[in-house]
């Protein structure tokens, strides 16, 4: 009897493991509200608000999308579509969503299979937390075996039938300091550099900076982005971009 009871306890413990909360890819201090950053089902993802800023680069990539998030009434569900990235040796795309307005601490992490899609229920966190879908940026990336990270444009639409085709991907950045100029160049990573494109207007810290990318299909391109803070040296990032 005692052995049976012990076995039952062990089985119960193992079984209870299946309902333990899933871990999230980043350790964030979840917001006190009911919309705090945590694992959520259907689809499996980590989503929510967090209460502490996370240290990062002074120049940040916020969004890389074909299309624009909106509220698809009445079901409040958007379809996030990942491109086919098997050419990069990957089976899935890691998607991270951020709030584009500065100091709004929202994040979602979800994995989308290569060439597949997931439903993003805006009614779970985004809308009840008072966020506008248009203020959310999504970034898709793939990590190759050698550690290189490739950024891929994600599609966003209400359904498969309304998927935006033929549109150019739009990439959004922000700087965390006031800047006097913003520069970018897109070039074949196996070729020579093209001249810098330059925006000479003053950019406030946190202000989104949009760039429409005319990236050739099926090639890995290098995207250099730089900003010059009003009182400092250039800050820059280099991204590898792949448009299937």
């Amino acid at each position: 009897m005692r052995v049976a009871g012990l076995s039952a306890l062990i089985v119960l413990l193992f079984a209870s493991g299946t309902v333990l909360p899933h871990s999230c890819p980043v350790n964030l201090t979840s917001s006190d509200t009911g919309f705090g950053y945590r694992h959520r089902p259907m689809p499996d993802r980590c989503e929510g608000l967090y209460s502490a800023p996370v240290a990062g680069e002074s120049l940040q990539l916020l969004s890389f999308l074909i299309g624009h998030p909106f509220d698809p009434l009445p079901d409040h569900r958007l379809l996030i579509t990942a491109p086919d990235v098997q050419a990069l040796g990957a089976q899935a795309v890691t998607v991270v969503a951020h709030a584009i307005p500065h100091r709004v601490y929202y994040r979602m992490d979800v994995t989308v299979p290569s060439g597949g899609s997931v439903q993003w229920p805006l009614g779970a966190v985004v809308l009840p937390a008072g966020l506008k879908p248009g203020d959310i940026g999504l970034v898709g990336s793939v990590q190759a075996a050698d550690g290189s990270v490739y950024y891929v444009p994600l599609g966003i639409a209400a359904s498969e039938s309304t998927a935006s085709r033929g549109l150019q991907p739009v990439i959004i950045f922000r700087t965390l300091v006031d800047s006097g100029s913003f520069l970018w160049r897109l070039y074949d990573s196996t070729g020579t550099a093209t001249p810098w494109n330059k925006q000479d207007q003053r950019i406030k810290a946190g202000e989104p900076i949009m760039v429409t990318l005319d990236s050739p299909a099926g090639k890995v391109m290098a995207l250099d982005v730089a900003a010059r803070p009003l009182d400092g040296d250039f800050i820059q990032i280099r991204l590898k971009v792949f448009s299937p």
Partner: protein
């Protein structure tokens, strides 16, 4: 016993009152006979000896045996520190180094700015005039063995092995340099003026160490502080490998500690560390903050646990871990006090019973 006392008192009262308590006396005698016939509850002397020896043994062990894990805090200045990272470490910032003296060697790939065309190298030496060199991003993957070494000249090396290591270096000004495994290919002169973004050199090591091949490293003289505020580590040492000038075929591992203090957190004991003190830590887990300032040694703070903390070498080595009794004394003061008090009380009480034979 109580009844004997009761009857005794009653008999006494009767005697005082002028009565003759014959019946009470008879009853007292009978009770005393019964009491004498009962088996005595004395603790055997041998058991007392065994318990006493066991207590002494436990006390001696607590006095002699060290705790398995000790909490330790290090505040050290050292010319070299090597640490095994428990987590991936990503650093963003701007670490300026002397633009006239920068080398990156033995990387899997160093991608040069596109102005050089599609070009990647394994080693690179830069000599930049009227400009600057800034390391902007460093990433060390989990299990990387990271070594920071400073030299008398003020130069510093960051050496990495065992895991993925990548980063970016931004260069502005007139850039001259050499590239290639032997640094024997001259780079064409490139100019990055103040109106354009600096040239970005991206370096990457895939973490696959090749036996006999030197690990990748960055060599430069810091102009600004490089600070890693919170590194989770599983290994820590402060020795560097130096060739013995008397015997060039031999290498010596010598402590590079310049000064500092070791604090045993469990006991509060502080031990000053003299230059070149041989400090050995084994099976450590904890957090390190390391600060590399221009023309200074690396300043290190560590807080964590270790199952061996030894200072000195050979017969002069000394373990700094507290014994169990020391640990109890410092960590469980109240428990130890009441435990000792109860133990002493029990000993005295038992000794009294043994000596007097009374119950």
């Amino acid at each position: 016993m109580r009844e004997i006392e009761l009857i005794g008192r009653e008999a006494g009262a009767k005697a005082v009152a002028g009565e003759t308590p014959i019946a009470d006396v008879e009853r007292l005698k009978a009770l005393q006979c019964v009491l004498a016939a009962l088996p005595q509850k004395h603790i055997p002397f041998s058991l007392a000896v065994i318990v006493g020896i066991a207590c002494l043994l436990i006390a001696s062990l607590a006095l002699a045996v060290e705790v398995p894990w000790a909490r330790v805090q290090l505040d050290l200045t050292t010319k070299a520190i090597t640490m095994r990272l428990d987590n991936g470490l990503s650093w963003h910032g701007a670490w300026r180094v002397d633009p006239e003296q920068v080398r990156l060697e033995n990387f899997t790939r160093i991608v040069l700015p596109p102005e050089y065309g599609p070009r990647s190298e394994s080693s690179l030496e830069l000599n930049v005039q009227t400009g600057s060199v800034r390391v902007g991003h460093l990433f060390f993957d989990r299990d990387a063995l990271l070594t920071m070494i400073t030299s008398e000249s003020g130069a510093a090396d960051l050496v990495v092995s065992g895991a993925l290591f990548r980063g970016d270096m931004d260069v502005s000004g007139e850039v001259n340099g050499h590239a290639g495994p032997g640094l024997d290919n001259s780079l064409p002169l490139e100019r990055y003026d103040s109106e354009t973004p600096p040239g970005r050199f991206s370096f990457m090591y895939n973490g696959q160490d090749v036996r006999g091949q030197r690990p990748p490293f960055i060599h430069g003289s810091p102009v600004e502080v490089l600070a890693f505020p919170d590194i989770k580590v599983t290994n820590l040492s402060f020795v560097d490998e130096r060739v013995n000038p008397e015997r060039p075929d031999q290498t010596m591992f010598t402590s590079q500690i310049s000064s500092g203090t070791i604090t045993m957190i469990d006991t509060g004991e502080q031990i000053p560390v003299i230059p070149a003190a041989a400090l050995r830590l084994a099976n450590i887990r904890g957090r390190v903050s390391a600060l590399l300032a221009p023309n200074k040694d690396v300043q290190v703070k560590f807080v964590g646990t270790a199952n061996d903390v030894t200072l000195g070498t050979g017969e002069f080595s000394r373990s700094l871990k507290p014994t169990i009794l020391e640990w109890l004394f410092h960590q469980q003061k109240l428990g130890l006090f009441w435990g000792a008090l109860t133990f002493l009380w029990g000993m005295i009480w038992s000794a009294r019973r043994l000596i007097s034979g009374s119950s």
